[in-house]
Homo-oligomer: 216 residues x 2
DNA sequence: AATAAAGTTTAGGCAAACCTAAAAAATATA
DNA sequence: TATATTTTTTAGGTTTGCCTAAACTTTATT
């Protein structure tokens, strides 16, 4: 499989999860920073290879072998992210771009040994579950902070927005994986929330609370 | 720089070191497992980019910026080899192919942190010196075992032949980096040598003694 | 239902990195 | 030195992955 094919499969997997139905060439191409015509071409090729189901004008969906392939790449991506964060002291916002390259290295032994070296981690530094070698993923029912009520408490397990600026903001506010977030108050007029993290109270905007995932 | 350009620069660097003069398209293409016509094309492109000096029919030579670029890739290759051997328990003969891919990952921070994580190693698992971030390499006067006399003692610092079968042979014979090799005897009829390694005597063929490097 | 807008595909090109086959140059041999 | 052999370059193709512009299909609006 080529680098480009791998990136398409991974993208289709993510977008398929988000929305329900077939992923349109428009959405897919925007996600990959390419043109719709390019997406159409690639989708046709993946269909011929038996990795996706594609009906013209109806979008694309991974079939079983496509999903297994996608999960293998996601496994590699998340293991490398874990390596970069835990062993090389990369910060939350720096790991993604490098992992985007490393995920395409071809060596079964490499990824097996990396997994072992890291102590068989279950989650990556963004709180996303790492698929096992057969492509099995732990299903998590994660909630957004915005879905909690005053009085509730959640443990931060990830983010939705992975932009540098947001991740840097979280770093500054000392919000990291495992942080316990207690909801103190909810302001109706702007949907912001007052939360307590490690005995420190702060106000999070609606945008912020919608982009932080917690396990309750 | 593209992956292919990087591989060409690295190859030219190695071949230039071996022979003295300009590297011919024939030699270069054989080394890279490509056709001479492809080498000519690439060389012309590298010349236009100012990385090599190329005169038709006269072969190619790296100029200063080409050499710096080559050494940066070699630095990455050797750091990754060290990582694979030291941290992921790859054996001597397994590391090269994976490092051949990893050397092309683009991230200054990655290689800086990897270097730190490994404790700023000076040599790779084959005994070759790792260039520093400015492209400076330690010049080593290494000798082949075949150049030693009975009574001499050397410390194994690398190999010339990096084929799997040779490296596996060395593994079986417990010859590794740092092994102290004492020359017991030299057989004139077949140029083989009796050597002592860790209180064990064995006979090495001429082919073997010519492909093991030692520091005396 | 007819028309306008938006989304999707097709057609035709382009650059990178390969290739084969033919032409040209350098080198070896008679 | 003339000819044969080897090496190198050039010319023309192919594949992958991208693009733009035009044609077509679907969806939204009047
Ligand atoms: Mn990627
Ligand atoms: Mn992640
Ligand atoms: Mn390489
Ligand atoms: Mn090496």
């Amino acid at each position: 499989m080529t680098l480009s094919e791998e990136n398409y499969l991974k993208s289709i997997y993510s977008l398929q999860r988000e929305h329900g139905k077939g992923v349109s060439t428009n959405v897919l191409s925007k996600y990959l920073d390419a043109k719709p015509a390019s997406a159409t071409e690639m989708i046709k090729k993946l269909d011929e290879k038996g990795l996706v189901r594609y009906q013209p004008y109806q979008g694309v969906l991974l079939n079983e072998s496509g999903e297994i392939s996608a999960l293998k790449i996601i496994r590699k991506h998340r293991l490398w992210e874990t390596f970069l964060a835990q062993k090389l002291d990369f910060s939350w916002d720096e790991i993604h771009d490098v992992a985007e390259q490393l995920e395409h290295i071809k060596s079964d032994k490499l990824i097996q040994q990396l997994d072992k070296f890291l102590g068989y981690p279950k989650y990556d530094p963004h709180g996303d579950p790492i698929p096992d070698e057969h492509g099995h993923v732990i299903k998590m029912e994660k909630k957004r902070v915005s879905q909690l009520q005053p009085g509730d408490t959640g443990t931060c397990i990830g983010v939705n927005d992975t932009s540098s600026s947001f991740l840097q903001f979280l770093d500054q506010q000392n919000i990291r994986l495992g942080s316990v977030i207690h909801i103190v108050n909810f302001q109706d007029f702007d949907k912001s929330m007052t939360v307590r993290i490690e005995d420190r109270e702060l106000i999070l905007s609606q945008i912020a609370t919608e982009n932080i995932y917690v396990r309750i």
